[in-house]
């Protein structure tokens, strides 16, 4: 900014002699000479305006460290010591620290736009902390699934804590509403790329609560989402959050995933309705599977012409006769992660 100004200033100087032009476009261009500063005889020295410094850089890095620690703890809890109680406590901490204390800014969800802006606007730069906030949850998702959503995201935490009696929505509704985040992501990235607006921040339903102040419309919207969240599990996460889309892509490749073990399932069916997000698939009859060599040929063909064999496209993987849990993906269930019949727990 300052460098830019210094250049403009140099370019300006000759213009100052062309009084009429300059005064017409900027009437105050000469005004520093209008009333020269007096020479005080009483020894008066002008005070310095008190200009408080912004929050220190060290504290910004502390935020990154806290995010990192919370993500590590969430991954550890999810994979090694799953317990509702510990998750609840971590969720509460995230809500208090990232939400109410840091007032929800900058959060990984909104950082999508900073990344987009810096990629498209050659004049802008991006602080390291923002890149860290963008990348850390994604990298964790690449290894451990969406641990960020589970208990670190302050927006998710707000909804998690109001989830009183979640009902399962029909699969079709979930699927349809699940397309909204893609639209939202696209529009938000477009708006940030052209430098028009940061829509995700503007329409963040909860940041008004974190800051204890927002426009009436946003408070109503936030209140509506929270009220809805008491009977529909995490509506913002599942049906709006654009960062969730990125996390979903990442976690689909994740290495240490939460899965069920089909061979160990005794089909008690107690879990069928227990997931408030509809992620547990009900048992489905096993389909006759084709020989492996034929499937490979089909795959090769699919690469050439994906729609040439629509009939096969709805098939479930063999082995999905048992319940499959997929923490990564609220919409499409866990079909990808199924094991072959009788091959026990997932190998990789």
């Amino acid at each position: 900014m300052t460098e830019e100004r210094e250049i403009t200033e140099k370019n300006n100087q000759p213009l100052d002699t062309r009084g009429g032009l300059v005064t017409a476009s900027a009437p105050w261009a000469f005004l520093q000479e209008r009333f020269p500063r007096p020479d005080f005889e009483s020894g008066y020295a002008p005070p310095e305006a008190a200009l408080p410094a912004p929050r220190g850089l060290a504290l910004e890095y502390l935020d990154v460290v806290v995010l990192m620690a919370a993500l590590s703890l969430a991954a550890f809890l999810a994979l090694k010591r799953p317990s509702r109680r510990s998750f609840f406590l971590l969720t509460l901490f995230s809500l208090l620290y990232l939400g109410f204390w840091r007032e929800g800014c900058v959060c990984p969800v909104g950082s999508i736009q900073n990344i987009t802006l810096v990629l498209f606007d050659s004049g802008s730069v991006i602080p390291l902390t923002v890149i860290a906030f963008f990348m850390l949850p994604l990298l964790f998702a690449l290894w451990f699934g969406r641990v960020f959503c589970s208990s670190v995201c302050p927006l998710g935490a707000a909804q998690e804590l109001v989830m009183i009696r979640p009902f399962n929505l029909p699969a079709g509704v979930i699927h349809f509403l699940g397309l909204l985040p893609y639209v939202y992501l696209g529009v938000a990235v477009l708006a940030a790329a052209i430098g028009a607006d940061f829509l995700i921040c503007r329409y963040d339903p909860f940041v008004g609560f974190f800051r204890m102040g927002a426009t009436l419309e946003m408070l109503i919207f936030g209140g509506f989402i929270l009220a809805l969240g008491t009977v529909v599990g995490r509506p913002y996460c599942r049906f709006l959050c654009p960062y969730g889309v990125l996390l979903k892509w990442m976690s689909s490749l994740s290495k240490y995933h939460l899965t069920t073990t089909p061979s160990a399932c005794v089909r008690c069916r107690l879990c069928e309705n227990s997931c408030p997000f509809g992620c547990l698939l009900k048992p489905a009859p096993e389909r006759d599977s084709e020989p492996r060599s034929l499937r490979i040929r089909r795959l090769a063909l699919a690469g050439v012409h994906p729609f040439s064999h629509r009939g096969g496209s709805r098939s479930r993987p063999p082995g999905s006769h048992s319940l499959i849990e997929d923490s990564s993906d609220g919409q499409s269930g866990g079909t990808r992660r199924a094991g072959a019949p009788g091959n026990g727990p997932r190998r990789d």
Partner: protein, 201 residues
């Protein structure tokens, strides 16, 4: 012995597409790292671009706004009759409240010597309406300017005022030099007299 995990076409395609998308996201993050700044960025107003529209008072996510008037004393003429202080249409030129520009009486006027007076802003009273700035810029030296006070600003990812500022006066500045006063002050080059950048156009 473990059998190879079987995979069907749908899941193969899904994984492939998501993998490609994940790669793109990672690349975007890495690409952004080319424009890395080790310093943090904060919002600030360029007083040369501000047209004192009054939105700084109303658009900020905080109430009262994080924007306050800041006096760049270096530029001030210490005028007896300050139109940042007293209303130009005032019935009489006195310091009575109804003649003051500031709606909250946040400006204090102190006699220094001879015909010279010092004007001080009380930040706890200032609401950032910019009325005094308009008076000072129109009739005086323009030593009053609106600035975001970084002790109050919560550093929104997108400043709500920046979005609607008609002068496009907001930008992200390095946190080490967080103020843009016309001359002097914490962030500016002390003693420099900046000219209006827009005068070149």
């Amino acid at each position: 012995m473990v059998e190879r995990e079987s995979i069907d076409r749908r899941s193969f395609l899904q994984t492939g597409l998501k993998g490609a998308a994940a790669l793109a996201v990672t690349a975007a993050g890495a690409g952004a790292a080319f424009r890395l700044s080790t310093d943090d960025r904060v919002w600030q107003i360029d007083p040369w671009k501000c047209v004192q529209c009054g939105r700084c008072e109303t658009e900020c996510v905080l109430t009262p706004s994080a924007v306050d008037c800041v006096h760049a004393y270096d530029r001030c003429g210490y005028c007896n009759l300050c139109f940042g202080y007293v209303h130009p249409n005032a019935l009489e030129q006195t310091t009575a409240a109804e003649n003051q520009v500031c709606p909250t009486a946040a400006i204090r006027r102190t006699w220094i010597e001879g015909p010279y007076y010092e004007y001080t802003i009380d930040e706890t009273l200032c609401i950032g309406c910019g009325k005094c700035v308009k008076g000072c810029v129109t009739f005086g030296n323009g030593s009053l300017c609106l600035q975001i006070r970084h002790d109050r600003c919560v550093h929104c990812n997108i400043c709500a005022i920046a979005r609607s500022c008609p002068g496009r006066a907001f930008s992200r500045v390095p946190a080490r030099r967080p103020y843009l006063l016309k001359t002097g002050g914490g962030g500016g080059d002390h003693g420099r007299r900046w000219r209006n950048p827009s005068a070149s156009s």
